[in-house]
Amino acid sequence: MTEKTKSEVSEQKLVGLLAQYEDPGSLISACNHARESGYKKIDAFSPFPVHGIDPALGIPRTILPFFVLIIGLTGCAVGLGMQFYANAADWSPLFPGYSFMISGKPFFSLPANIPVTFEVVILSSALATFLGMWALNRLPRLANPLHRISRFKRVTNDKFFLLIETKDPQFDRTETESQLSSWGASVVEEVKEDLTDQQLPSWLQLAGLMTALLLLIPPVLIFRAEGMTNRKPRLHVVPDMDWQDKYKTQTLSPNLGDEKHPKFLFVDGRAMQEPIPGTIARGDLDTDSEYFRGIKSGTDAFATVSSAGARTSLQDDTRQDDAANDKPAEPNSDTAATSEPDWVTQFPTNVEVNLELLERGQDRFNIYCSVCHGYAGNGDGLVNTRALALAAAGKAQWTAAKSLNDPEIIKNPVGRIFDTISYGRGTMGPYKDQIPVEDRWAIVAYVRAIQGTGIKPESTTKAEEDAVAE
């Protein structure tokens, strides 16, 4: 032994004695001898499972089957429960189940749920068997003193070994060695544990540390991105159906031909077609003038309404569309522009004013109207207040929102209020497309109700005046 290895020798500890046998028969007889001599910490090693070695060594039956049984039964319950939860139960705080209606069949029917339950049982039991076996065998164990012995390499080939550990109370270095030889061993060898074996190689430690640090980078980047704002669109790893080869409605058709012979989807160059003249889309047959427009039926609907100049061109467009649907525009529309239509003064017959409607109206009013007109309709909504302040500072153009309690406004018939909500007035925009007809009537009812309270706009306080002045 060289000088260099001597320092290592000092760290070596005797683990046991390893005897080599040439065939399974002599191994079994040696095991029997060892057991009968009272040794407890013994183990045999062989290239294949040797029959009869368990009683020879006194190995008790493994508990593995019971472990697998428990896991398998658990798997059965989990499998069934999972299916019930996912397809038949609606309760759950986090990820709700989903009652999946298929052809009117019951949500949970055992026959249909047997295949998946069966597979879950098999899968969980197999995993339990596999993992349980290695765990009970204390494997993986990559550093084992036995692997240091070159002779032991043939244990996976054609030799048989018996190990008696030093931990055994009966172990005696010389006595045990002679016993092992007398039981037919061809060679007896010391098994020594090198304590340095238990330390990881330094390069592996370094590599592990580096890997751990590198693994930290992705989560750090993700958390960083989540905590930041970014004007760029989000990253589309998989575009899914976010971008599609299609033309959107109300857009021009691109030229599908060439410069000289332009070709469009439709002759008018649009990417969509107009409805055929005279057709009305489903649900758009608004014949009830009182209900849909707030104008007494039998009177002219649109030509007179557009109290000219008050509407934007966009509003006029929609008005024209509606007019086209209903009846052709009157030739004298321009001349009649200033006269008011015959507004309904009563709620239409199919709008029943009751508490439910008022509550709905309040709800909608608070969402759509209160931002400018204020919760009490006094024209002191936050947007209005802020815009007035900006306008006073010369930073914006703004026409103050009306107080709904203004005596002039209170005089308006319900039909006109409805029309105002639908098409806007002055700088107020139209809400026809955001608010369905019945909700607009609900808002009208609510507006009437708050007007009835008689709450007058408060005079602006000193503080507010200061704010405006700023």
Binding site: F48, H51, L64, A86, N87, S125, A126, L146, T156
Partner: protein
Amino acid sequence: MAITVEPLGDNTIENPEERAPLVLGGLDYAGVTDKVCAIWEADKAPKIWWLVLAGAACLLLMFGACINHLLMKGVGIWGNNNPAYWGWPIVNFVFWVGIGHAGTLISAILFLFRQNWRTSINRAAEAMTIFAVICAGTYPGVHIGRVWVFYWLFPVPSEHLAMWPNFRSPLLWDVFAVSTYFTVSLLFWYMGMVPDIATYRDRAKSKMRKFVYGLLSLGWTGSARGWHRYEAAYVILAALATPLVLSVHTIVSFDFAVSQVPGWHTTIFPPYFVAGAIFSGFAMVVTLLVPARRLYNLKELITIRHLENMNKIIMATGLMVGTAYGIEFFIAWYSGVAMERFAFYNRAFGNYWWAYWIMVSCNVFIPQLFWFKFFRTNTIAMVVICIFVNIGMWFERFVITITSLCRDYLPSSWHYFHPTGIDIMMFIGSFGLFTTLFLLFCRFLPIIAISEVKSIMPSEGDHH
């Protein structure tokens, strides 16, 4: 270590006085180890290995290119169209998953029946199972449309989707059955291989191999306590895999049988599919092992007796499949349902008659040759027959899928199915994937269960 060269005896003769030997050539324990490890320890793989690997890798590339094309363009590149929305992809899926049944059958069912001859062939058959299931899983995997959300197949809690899979659908049962089968087969295969990987570890010369095989062998020492639990685990896994292997093709058949398409809605499908799966799987094992045993000189371990036993199973399952074909016709007539009768008449004599008769010839008529010992024991003859069997089994799935779909209840939608070039390339390409994996397995992992073969050898100097 010198391998004793002894003439190979004929172990196909039945002698009631003694068990026929399963390891020939007078090999001892070390001889078996040397024989199997020689494949791995050879400095260079045989030329033919490189040639076949090159060919298979080209096909694999083609397969990958087809899948890429599919992901970019969508499933419209296949011939699937109204009314045959299930075209070649499902045919190929059932074909491969059927082949994948032999491995677990050999390792689990034959193990429970204590058929010792399984030990030389089970490792390769299990590997074949795993590779076949990989090929099979590819088809439905890429057929789901948006492959990148494949995990929606599984009950994964998702806020985005806010719903769960439908557990009463046979297609979902399939997801569970095939993925469970793959996992359990993989565990079984790997667990069975650990002692043999330890053999490789102990014989490894290069540092790289010592490291890799040392890691894979998990520190196996062959301790008696280890073997005790290992054997217990092996029996449990075999007992779990036995119903599993029967359930998988049963559930695959439910994909068809639970629907109401004429020709599919039959209760015979589960047993008939399982028999067909074993039939095709064994045929594939023979097709792979005959060249492998020749190339790697494993005649002492994979003996003619092993091959003959497999051929007997092929013939038996072939007869079962043939009986099922007949019973299907009887039940169609006996049911008195006009559409059902038409479906079967149409199979044999309709415009897909050619496919039907290829199927019957390959699956029922040709395996009858195995009644003669010459065909059971001649390696070339058996490979030819087994290739025919697999052609026939592919056509069986084609006949079932296509003839029924193209002649459904609505005559106005009747149609003649045409595969596209991509369909054909993807089918051929999957053989590239399969062959590549199998060749790599042969080169780098023990293709014969060394420790199991030793355990069935009459022990030297037996004292007990």
